[in-house]
């Protein structure tokens, strides 16, 4: 394995970089969309729960099937991969964002309203800080599952660590399979560490 790394680290690193790009773009877009939805629907619990259920159903669709359905529309390649991955993230993100906000003890919200906070003040001073750990947890799960599913995106020419895995399958090389696995696991751990640090920093700021 080490020998393989010594010779082909460039190739592995390229795949990893592609993977990071894929996951990074997905998460950025997904978080933006989820935040937008949450902002818009935060006060309509019904709509929110409906949306979460809908996305949970989408989430249950195998990625390969979603790729297949989208290819006639958006073709092979990164665009399709990112669209699918963003769809998957929505469920995890929406659920954890809204759980974070809805799980706040209603008496705390009531106390805040009763004290004369505006919606905006309440969001900034109460809801956001109290939902923070749940939000970060959601992002963590989304990142983890995106890193996993993104490997499948190699089937539709989106690059990334999946290419290493499929390459390993093609040439029947355990070394490559292991490298593909190890690198995606390392990526996961890396993202988890970053989010952990972020969470700590935020916690220190808010509390």
């Amino acid at each position: 394995m080490i020998a393989y790394w010594n010779t082909y680290h460039e190739k592995l690193l390229t795949a990893t970089m592609q993977h990071i790009e894929l996951v990074g773009m997905t998460l950025t877009i997904a978080i933006l969309i989820a935040s937008g939805i949450i902002m818009a629907c935060m006060h309509q619990e019904r709509v929110m729960n409906g949306l979460i259920y809908l996305t949970s159903l989408l989430y249950s669709i195998p990625s390969l099937a979603l790729f297949a359905i989208l290819i006639p529309l958006t073709g092979l390649g990164r665009t399709t991969a990112i669209i699918v991955l963003v769809i998957y993230c929505q469920y995890v993100l929406l659920r954890s964002f809204s759980a974070g906000i809805q799980e706040i003890d209603p008496t705390i919200i009531e106390a805040a309203v009763g004290m004369g906070m505006t919606r905006n003040q309440m969001f900034r001073k109460i809801q956001l800080p109290l939902a923070m750990s749940s939000i970060i947890a959601g992002i963590r799960i989304a990142a983890t599952s995106t890193i996993g599913i993104a490997t499948i995106a190699a089937t539709i020419n989106a690059g990334g660590l999946g290419t290493v895995l499929f390459d390993g399958l093609r040439t029947f090389s355990v070394v490559k399979l292991l490298w593909g696995t190890v690198l995606s696991m390392l990526l996961c751990l890396f993202v988890n560490v970053i989010l952990y640090l972020l969470e700590n920093a935020l916690r220190r700021r808010f509390a």
């Binding site: 099937a65 979603l66 290819i71 006639p72 499948i152 029947f172 696995t181 995606s184």
Partner: protein
């Protein structure tokens, strides 16, 4: 054009299509069955032993960061190709969610309920049957649902290693750039995942009310 292709496919290959559906469902159901048989008793045992339950949570978290694709592929190197390794891989993927949820389900049975059951004079077995199992059921089912979704999903990939199923249509579609096959495969798998999901949600809801 595309509609015609799809209709034509069904006219010519309907029995083949049914075989794919049958293979996909068969593999998934078998995998979920075995997963349940292993994970539910294990989950029950682990809720009684703190150490064990911590270990299980930890290792299933570790497993979660391995892409399921990698699990599937790595397994061939150790047990070869075909239906058996596919089944093993799917069971491996199905176990963690059931295990974790079963453990949580039994742990979440409120202490008051257990105490009340005991206070009413239930034996351990009666307590399990009348209180713990019914109260943990929704959690267990949630685990089963997550596992099944994962399994149906990965069963699509299992086509790569010779397990058949609807993934075949998708791969062939990808290989030949045939939109009709892609759509038939993709939509069929989506529908199966969808209905299973809705069906299990219904069971979970009903068991709560």
């Amino acid at each position: 054009m595309l509609v015609n292709d799809i209709l034509q496919y069904f006219q010519e290959n309907f029995s083949q299509y049914l075989i794919y559906v049958y293979q996909h469902l068969g593999l998934s159901i078998q995998a979920i069955g075995i997963s349940c048989l292993i994970a539910i008793p294990l989950g029950y045992i682990s809720h009684k032993h703190r150490k064990l339950s911590q270990m299980i949570t930890l290792s299933s978290q570790a497993l979660r960061i391995i892409p399921s694709l990698a699990v599937l592929f790595l397994l061939i190197s150790f047990i070869g190709v075909g239906r058996a390794p596919a089944l093993i891989a799917l069971v491996l993927l199905g176990i963690p969610p059931i295990l974790v949820n079963t453990t949580v389900g039994f742990l979440e049975v409120p202490a008051v309920m257990i105490e009340t059951g005991k206070g009413l004079g239930m034996t351990d077995w009666e307590l399990l049957k009348r209180v713990k199992i019914p109260m943990a059921f929704p959690f267990v089912m949630t685990g089963v649902k997550l596992a099944l979704v994962e399994i149906i999903s990965s069963a699509t990939l299992a086509t790569y290693i010779g397990a058949g199923g609807l993934g075949t249509l998708i791969f062939t579609g990808l290989g030949l750039n045939r939109m009709d096959l892609l759509l038939i495969g993709g939509v069929s798998v989506a529908m199966i995942a969808f209905t299973t999901s809705i069906f299990l949600d219904y069971i979970i809801k009903r068991s709560i009310n």
